[in-house]
């Protein structure tokens, strides 16, 4: 044995290389698997069980490969080192997120998806089937609003003209009112309308959208400043979760204690609009409306005499507290998770206003708009 092993010391490359491979394998086998990556804000694949059927159709192999990538020992160290190395080459981009001036992070969206036209068509069909007015508000993204802060020459999609196409198609339908949030969010230089490290707008940004929406829907614009304001510091959002580099400025989330009777979620009922549990975790923006729920019901009876049904993405979560000031009851539908019948919801709220509130890149990317229809039978 010794005779065989001794010469290997003359070949340190062999020893080091196989030591690394074997140690990493041992790491995979011995360490407890993580459910969730705080740093990247996503769930991680665990080691799959071997079954004959999974072997036969190849799904075991595919899952195992994802597991190997996501559960690599020292994952955070490796991922972080990569981000710093990328930064060290002078690059402004890592994993599709680019850092611009003033430490703002931007999502690089380079193309229109085919899904966009399907989604627009779904909204049009929905409007045609409906015997009442609907309001459609499409929010710009940080890339459009903060164009002056983008890294030089970064490719951007002409999002506004895409949104205009959408408006153009929808305004051909008599009962559809398009609300132009692009106009509402422009011309506020020096104010922070979007987070630096996250794709969402800030509470302030949502406030300008609220004024425009209220105006369009014939609501009184109330001042949210009369309620107590809270600040959550040290927020690093979804853009940071991908970028992971250095030179980041943390964001601060603001929210207001707008009083409600109840917020009825799928699994429980609460009595405020912000989940304070989320403050300690990574996903602090998820505090608004307790995150995305399939169907949440806000009741805040004040004799306003108006109800609202809102179909929305996560942008709306920090906008809803504003709307609560105007409505007695708001039904909040997130089509990504909704499994019920839209028809039932509309029948239950036969006199309610209907608002679709999405951000542009969601309309471009999402593939759940097909659920936006009455299911018969």
């Amino acid at each position: 044995m010794n005779k065989k092993v001794m010469p290997l010391t003359k070949y340190p490359m062999i020893v080091v290389f196989f030591a690394i491979c074997v140690l990493m394998l041992a790491g995979y086998l011995l360490r407890t698997q993580d459910d969730y990556s705080e740093m990247e804000n996503r769930y991680l694949q665990k080691r799959p069980d071997i079954t004959l059927s999974a072997l036969a159709d190849g799904s075991f192999m595919d899952t195992f490969e994802v597991y190997t990538n996501e559960q690599i020992p020292l994952r955070n160290l490796f991922v972080r080192c990569k981000a710093v190395l990328v930064w060290a080459t002078g690059a402004s981009e890592n994993d599709g997120i680019a850092k611009g001036r003033d430490s703002y992070l931007f999502d690089k969206v380079t193309g229109i998806n085919d899904g966009l036209y399907r989604n627009i068509a779904a909204i049009e069909n929905f409007a045609d089937d409906l015997d009442r007015d609907i309001y459609v508000a499409v929010a710009p993204t940080s890339t459009w609003v903060n164009e002056a802060l983008l890294p030089a020459g970064m490719p951007v999609l002409d999002e506004r003209s895409c949104a205009a196409t959408l408006s153009g198609k929808l305004s051909g339908h008599k009962n559809v009112h398009v609300i132009d949030l692009y106009e509402a969010l422009s011309g506020h230089e020096g104010e922070q309308l979007f987070y630096r490290t996250d794709h969402h707008w800030t509470t302030r940004g949502a406030g300008y959208a609220y004024e425009k929406i209220a105006d369009a829907m014939g609501l009184t614009v109330y001042d949210i400043g009369r309620y107590k304001k809270h600040e959550v510091e040290g927020f690093r959002g979804t853009h940071y979760a991908k970028y992971k580099g250095i030179g980041i400025i943390d964001d601060t989330i603001e929210y207001y204690d707008v009083p409600v009777d109840s917020l009825e979620l799928e699994k429980r009922t609460v009595h405020n609009l912000f989940d304070e549990e989320k403050i300690r975790g990574f996903d602090k923006y998820g505090g608004f409306m307790y995150g995305n729920d399939a169907c949440a019901k806000v009741s805040a009876e004040k004799g306003a005499g108006r109800d609202l049904v809102i179909f929305k993405d996560s942008y709306a979560n920090c906008l809803i507290p504003y709307l609560v000031m105007n409505y007695d009851n708001i039904t909040v539908i997130d089509l990504r998770y909704f499994g019920g019948n839209i028809g039932d919801v509309l029948d239950e709220n036969s006199a309610a206003d209907v608002l679709l509130m999405y951000n542009w890149s969601f309309v471009n990317d999402d593939n759940h708009f097909y659920k936006l229809r009455r299911v018969d039978g």
């Binding site: 190849g58 195992f64 990538n69 490796f78 690089k108």
Partner: protein
């Protein structure tokens, strides 16, 4: 499975090599065969059967051709066996790779609607077909002996280093090693370093510049400025070299770790001074295969000028078509036919006298040829070429973003495409500094793989 994956590095390598080094020498082929089957089946279990049938058919053909001596005239039976074996080997390649292409084109011309069976390309079929064909052809020519052990022949065909994307190893080159090889620590150590270099080429350079190229596709060729279009040419030119050379280096390194000498596949192709020279330095095992099994059997350049050009045309048409079942690949092959013919007739003599001009000429046309290769849609290709000469877009700022993000890796890629650093590398390779360098490279590769969002292998399509 691909080499540049954590799965290969940290599961396959430790488990497979532990087994391979521990088993007695006479079981090494068995270990290599089984390991290669796992490696291949990981991505595509359903096509294993095709490989097994191919091994069996060629093994039997080999036994029937075993009596062929160098000078003897082949019997009618041997001729028939030989032809049937080739029809089987290339028939499989043809069916799985080209059926869809021909069905679509026949439908387009005749307005029929023959259904496209929609076969997916079995991984590595273009490569292993050429390898096994070399066995049958050399046997028929009486240059090698028939393999009596089916496991040995099977191991040759499926051995994982070069199964999927080459280098194309002809049977005669490795038959000795297949029957008994020594595993020398010096070669293993060397192999590990070669493997790491290949991994770094692929992960750090090819994948990085590759994401620039991918971006141009999603922005849309019609929307990019002239400078960005040229940067795109550079990016793809670097991507395909570091991708494919990286893969070949990994294969050669793994071969050494197993006790095999897999031939060199690239020799700094981008420093060529003509396209003829480029093809002596690029994918050398493929060019050699076409030379030995197509060009020379057709008569090469010994049957007069006209026949020489006809032979060149056949070789380059086939080279193009081998790379993919699409018109752009045929166009790409014929592009080289035209330039190699021009060089043969007069251009070479001119380039000989103007060395600097010759380098610029070679790099420029190599880069442009890659566009024909990369853009499979002919209309899109036209758009791309129109952007390359669109002077009015020259002032656009889009190139700034890409320069900032990719300038370091682009420069690094350009330097590493030439042999300038080779003497330095050879000097430090065996020293502690060399070991440290390789370990750092491996660490950086792991970092990039752990965060990988873009990790394709270009030559897997073939």
């Amino acid at each position: 499975m691909v080499f540049s994956s954590l799965l290969f590095l940290f599961w396959f390598i430790p488990i497979f090599f532990a087994a391979y080094y521990v088993v007695p020498a006479k079981l090494r082929n068995t270990a290599l065969f089984l390991g290669s089957i796992v490696f291949y089946a990981w991505g595509e279990p359903s096509y294993l059967i095709l490989i097994f049938v191919s091994i069996l058919v060629n093994y039997l053909a080999g036994l029937l051709l075993a009596g062929r001596g160098e000078s003897a005239v082949p019997s009618a039976k041997e001729k028939a066996v030989f032809i049937l074996a080739l029809v089987f080997d290339f028939g499989m390649l043809f069916i799985f790779k080209y059926t869809g292409f021909f069905v679509r084109n026949i439908n387009a011309v005749t307005h029929l609607s023959i259904p496209d069976p929609g076969l997916t390309l079995p991984l590595g079929i273009s490569f292993y077909t050429f390898q096994i064909a070399s066995y049958v052809i050399d046997l028929y020519r009486g240059r090698i002996k028939a393999e009596r052990n089916i496991l040995t022949l099977g191991t040759y065909l499926v051995m994982f280093p070069q199964l999927i994307a080459g280098p194309i190893v002809v049977y005669s080159r490795v038959s000795e090693e297949l029957h008994g090889r020594k595993i020398e620590p010096a070669a293993v150590s060397d192999g590990i370093m070669t493997f790491i270099l290949g991994l770094a080429s692929k992960v750090l350079i090819a994948n990085t510049v590759g994401s620039l190229w991918k971006d141009l596709g999603s922005i849309g060729y019609a929307n990019i400025s002239m400078p960005l279009a040229w940067l795109g040419v550079a990016a793809f030119t670097l991507q395909i070299y570091f991708d494919f050379n990286g893969y070949s280096l990994m294969a050669i390194g793994l071969g050494k770790m197993l006790g095999f000498n897999i031939p060199q596949n690239f020799n700094n192709p981008y420093v060529s001074t003509s396209l003829t020279e480029f093809w002596r330095r690029w994918h050398m095992t493929l060019s050699a295969w076409f030379r030995d099994y197509v060009y020379i059997p057709l008569g090469g350049n010994r049957k007069g000028q006209l026949r020489t050009y006809v032979n060149l045309f056949i070789v380059w048409f086939l080279t193009g078509f081998w790379h993919g079942a699409g018109w752009n690949f045929i166009l790409w092959g014929l592009f080289f036919f035209v330039f190699l013919s021009l060089e043969k007739s007069f251009l070479a003599a001119f380039l000989e006298k103007h060395r600097i001009l010759a380098r610029i000429y070679a790099v420029l046309f190599i880069g442009l040829s890659w566009m024909i290769f990369a853009i499979t849609d002919i209309a899109q290709l036209g758009i791309y070429f129109s952007r390359l000469v669109n002077i009015t877009s020259a002032g656009s700022t889009d190139v700034l973003y890409y320069l900032r993000n990719y300038i370091v890796v682009t420069i690094l890629g350009c330097i590493l495409s030439t042999p300038v650093l080779k003497p330095l590398y050879e000097r430090i390779k065996g020293r502690p500094a060399g070991i440290v360098m390789h370990v750092i490279l491996l660490f950086v590769c792991i970092c990039y793989l752990a965060d990988a969002s873009y990790n394709p292998f270009l030559y897997f399509r073939f």
